[in-house]
């Protein structure tokens, strides 16, 4: 007897069809790449290309409007011999460290204060964002007046306290000038810290505070052993952003002091701009700008590793 091996009519497996475009797009691997493509292209065009072009420029003797010649690491060697470059490096580190630390402490205090209940809380929160919202150039012009000894509210106050006229020269004295730009940067960046940390604070479950209180923790201990550990990842992220922005700050110094007096406030970004655009030395300017990169890269890698470990 021979058995039939034919499939029953009507129950035959349909022929395998190619998936439709909609189905293809629906696949996670395709869809995720589709979503990633625009920002990746954006980053490649506006960050990747300038970055690699900057590296290329830094390896050339490249006067503006002239063709460049490859010189290897000569521009970096020139910077290493340049006393202003080292002054600029020191200024940038002092400026970044001091301003970031002040913003971190002040921002944390601001966030804790804003997390309390008080009248007009929302309005106060909105007003505190103002320094961050106002365009830097505009607020810097206002600071230019505030720091002018003839019009300064600080000098008016100090003179009232008995300091001899005309009071301190905030932008004429090298130390005070550095202190002034650190102060203004802190004023401008504090709301960023404050609001971001406030968002973090609001995610801390109240039960943890209740439990800590029952265990006998005072307000400082609650802050030290509950708030701070839970905020740590956010503090690290905000610090990372803040260090990058502060390290590469340009507008504030360019408008207020242009690096003066005697390069006391000259930062990497302003010095690189002066050399590249003022002196037309694109290669040398790019090498100054790139000098920021290793320090920033190290910091980013260190913080990222720390966060992963956490």
């Amino acid at each position: 007897m021979t058995l039939s091996s034919e499939p029953i009519a009507g129950l035959a497996r349909p022929a395998r069809r190619a998936p439709s475009l909609a189905m293809r797009l629906d696949r996670e691997s395709v869809f995720s790449w589709l979503m990633m493509a625009p920002p990746l292209l954006f980053l490649a065009a506006l960050v990747g290309y300038p970055f690699f072009y900057g590296i290329l420029l830094s390896l050339q003797d490249r006067p503006v409007a002239h063709t460049g010649t490859f010189v290897g690491l000569k521009n970096f060697a020139t910077n290493f011999r340049d006393p202003i470059f080292w002054r600029v490096a020191l200024n940038t580190f002092v400026y970044t460290a001091a301003a970031t630390l002040l913003k971190m402490i002040g921002g944390l205090a601001m966030a804790v204060a804003m997390n309390q209940r008080f009248a007009l809380k929302n309005l106060v929160r909105a007003l505190l964002l103002l320094p961050f919202i106002v365009p830097t150039v505009l607020s810097t012009v206002a600071w230019m007046w505030i720091l002018d000894p003839a019009f300064s509210v600080f000098n008016w106050f100090l003179i009232a306290l008995g300091v001899p006229r005309p009071g301190p020269s905030w932008l004429g004295n090298p130390v005070l000038a550095m202190g002034s730009i650190i102060f203004i940067n802190t004023w401008r960046g504090l709301p960023f810290y404050g609001i971001t940390l406030l968002a973090g604070l609001q995610t801390v479950p109240p039960e943890l505070y209740e439990a800590a209180t029952i265990d006998g923790a005072g307000s400082w201990q609650r802050f030290r052993y509950v708030t701070l550990p839970l905020l740590q990842p956010i503090i690290l992220i905000v610090t990372l952003f803040s260090v990058i922005f502060t390290f590469a700050d340009f507008q504030l110094v360019y408008v207020l002091t242009h690096g003066g007096p005697q390069n006391a406030t000259q930062l990497f970004a302003t010095y690189a701009f002066d050399i590249a655009m003022g002196a037309g030395q694109l290669g040398l300017g790019a090498s100054v700008a790139l000098a920021m990169f290793p320090a920033l890269a190290l910091l980013i890698v260190a913080l990222t590793l720390y966060m992963r470990r956490g």
Binding site: A150, T257, P261, N263, A279
Partner: protein, 426 residues
């Protein structure tokens, strides 16, 4: 049906081709336009004159539309840099200071236009050639100087018995001491501005017989007795006559201090009086202007040259040349200069006695200063190294550091080391 013979077709085609070649000029120019880049002027009537009078007049005469693209004060070099790097964005540009020497490879030789203007309008001042000729070729047609001279308060100077502006730096120092004692200090920029610092420090250096670099453009000669004397003078001039704040000043600071009646003497462009006449008439009445004081080796001024250049990549060089030639003709230039009083001091001798100088006689020293004006770094030829020295504020900071207490020997040694590194042989 209309048919066309082979002969008829050839005739029509021939006429069409001839028409295309011999098209009327107006029709060709109808859609032609040029873009001229300019930095916003402090004197608004100057830009308005171009936009409302010159550009429409040129369009009416030739059919070519001229776009006057304004860029904010201080951003012109960056804009020119972008245009030259990308090879597009404008056909011609205002250009100033040392920039014709930086961008020379991307600028057309405009010698015919410059020479023609010189011949027709009384000849160029010597300093115009210093500003426009790069390696033997005119790469810019000089337009004007924006002189940096002495601005002084006649009422406060009179309080210490001075009716005429002092003739020498030492005499000015003596007056300044008395005025500071009467709470009317001087204010000369020693910070990192764009021009008001170099505006008086280079002339001071030159007036003591000192220079950065020899005319060979290579040999650094800043370490000299003459420099030491200039630095010593600057130190006492700062200490005994000025506000401490000048060390941190940028270019707006001395104007602000002038209108706040904080200072009795400064070094600035004519704009300080122009703006005072508009906004602070009482201050304008007691403001006067004078040439820089003389030092032991003469009297000098800084040249802040304004010129016009044509980019080598302009799609229609002939159209750009035709426009620049038209613009530098007396008929156009005279009115344009007059629109800004004399804020832009002509570099052609033909305007030495023009009626615009009678509008405000207190501006006449700006004209007279042209004979002793030079570009920064003079007598060395302008080049990339000089631009680097200026951008790094080598001379400004040499003086400023001395004013804050560093020894003369040390500030000069530091400046020399910086200059030697900048001018190192390639």
């Amino acid at each position: 049906m209309t048919t066309i013979s082979r002969r008829g077709f050839l005739e029509l085609a021939g006429l069409g081709a001839a028409g295309a070649v011999l098209r009327p000029q107006d029709a060709a120019a109808a859609d032609e336009s040029l873009t001229v880049l300019h930095e916003s002027s402090f004197i608004k009537t100057f830009d308005e004159y171009f936009q409302k009078t010159l550009a429409p007049a040129y369009e009416k005469q030739t059919g070519v539309k001229v776009n006057y693209e304004l860029t904010s004060v201080g951003s012109l070099p960056t804009r020119i840099g972008t245009i030259t790097e990308t090879g597009s964005g404008a056909d011609a540009t205002m250009i100033f200071g040392l920039y014709p020497f930086l961008f020379d490879e991307k600028l057309l030789d405009v010698g015919d236009i410059a020479e023609g203007a010189g011949k027709a309008q009384g000849g160029w001042y010597g300093v115009a050639k210093e500003a426009g000729i790069v390696n033997g070729k005119w790469k810019a047609v000089p337009f004007s100087n924006i002189g940096q001279l002495m601005n002084w308060r006649t009422d406060w100077f009179a309080e210490v018995g001075v009716k005429r502006f002092p003739d020498t730096w030492e005499e000015l120092y003596e007056v300044g001491k008395k005025l500071k004692a009467k709470d009317h200090p001087f204010g000369f920029e020693l910070g990192h501005g764009f021009g008001d610092n170099h505006g008086w420090l280079y002339p001071l250096l030159w007036s003591y017989g000192a220079h950065e670099v020899e005319p060979d453009g290579k040999t650094v000669v800043i370490d000299s007795d003459e420099t030491a004397r200039a630095v010593d003078f600057a130190r006492k001039f700062f200490r005994d006559t000025m506000l401490d704040d000048v060390l941190g000043w940028t270019d707006v600071s001395n104007n602000k201090a002038w209108y706040a009646e904080q200072i009795s003497c400064t070094n600035n462009a004519e704009s300080i009086l122009w703006l005072a006449k508009r906004d602070f008439p009482e201050i304008a009445q007691v403001t006067d202007q004078a040439q820089n004081p003389a030092g032991p080796k003469g009297r000098y001024h800084l040249m802040s040259a304004i010129s016009h250049s044509i980019f080598s990549f302009t799609p229609d060089p002939q159209a750009a040349r035709a426009f620049l030639r038209w613009l530098t003709d007396e008929k156009q230039l005279g009115g344009w200069y007059a629109s800004a009083d004399t804020y832009y001091q002509p570099l052609l001798h033909g305007y030495d006695n023009a009626s615009m100088w009678q509008v405000e006689p207190r501006n006449i020293p700006y004209r007279d200063s042209l004979a002793t004006a030079h570009l920064p770094g003079w007598p060395a030829p302008p080049n990339h190294q000089l631009a680097e020295s200026v951008a790094k504020y080598v001379i400004v900071d040499m003086f400023a550091k001395a004013c804050t207490g560093t020894s003369t020997k040390e500030v000069i040694k530091n400046a020399e080391a910086q200059l030697k590194d900048i001018y190192r042989p390639v």
